[in-house]
Assembly symmetry: C2
Homo-oligomer: 150 residues x 2
DNA sequence: ACAAATTAGTTGACTTTATCAACTAATTTT
DNA sequence: AAAATTAGTTGATAAAGTCAACTAATTTGT
């Protein structure tokens, strides 16, 4: 009876892909691209990040990132500083303007989610976010224990 | 206490975006692009589809689709037939080869999901797919009833 | 200490993906 | 039956992403 489960996961994937697509649309209508926002996100949440860090955490081509950073620097959202410890490495930080801009985008994203949650009763909202947390945890650290008849 | 829920949804979105990205990678390594596979999916599941149908269901640019269909026709996966009822409209169908090819891709996708589910106990698997179905249903038809203190 | 190998990031060339507008031909509206 | 609309095609470009060659700094092995 595994087939039923596979079908449900795939149906969910299709469904959630379109949800995410809808949510992303809002960012695409902003002055930034999706990858740009992801980079801003990384920089906002991690002090003392280098280009290499982003390359590995976002699995991004280094040439692509390099150019993107140039733009973000030109837009005064990001500042580069050559590492004193390693002259090849570049430390990246958001400028105050960059932080502010990210916070605006962040608020907008929050608001978007809020609008979705508002359509749910508080009980449903509680339940749904519980399910989300559960799914994350199940897919993050799949326990191999509980040796029952699977 | 809504903020906590918003944060969970957003965390889930980030998480699931990367899951989907990982799963898509497998298609990207195939001989087809993601949009191509989505078109094949539509054609496989809907008899008697026109280009317009796909444009509206997949929200795709018509020029882009037109060229994509040309390629799929060249690859002998899709057949075009001008509608007898409306000489502008083109009816699209998968050729036998197209159906076969889609079924292969479909099986590969199933297998991919299966590999994920195999890491879960049967109880966890049951639970997770239940959560997915729940989330889908909550986000699809958000009931406005149950007027409790939200 | 120092040559060889590795690493961080940049740059150029290119492919793929996607968008937009102009266009043709068929159909619908008035 | 002229005017407006619709389905799809085509050309021109833009945006997104990849790949390889390259420079400069650092690390490794001897």
């Amino acid at each position: 009876m595994q087939q039923k489960h596979i079908a449900e996961v795939r149906a969910f994937n299709r469904f959630y892909t379109s949800i995410i697509g809808l949510l992303d649309r809002h960012i695409l209508n902003s002055r930034y691209s999706l990858p740009e926002v992801r980079v801003l996100y990384e920089l906002y949440h991690n002090e003392n990040t280098t280009a290499s860090d982003i390359i590995s955490s976002l699995q991004m081509d280094k040439g692509y990132l390099s150019r993107m950073l140039q733009q973000l620097v030109r837009k005064k959202l990001v500042a580069k500083k050559i590492s004193t410890a390693d002259g090849r490495a570049v430390h990246l930080t958001l400028t105050p303007a960059g932080r502010k801009e990210f916070e605006t985008l962040n608020r907008e994203s929050d608001k978007q989610i809020q609008e979705i949650l508002e359509k749910l009763s508080s009980g449903d909202c509680e339940r749904m976010t519980g399910y989300m947390a559960e799914i994350r945890s199940l897919l993050t650290q799949p326990k191999t224990t509980e040796s029952d008849g699977r």
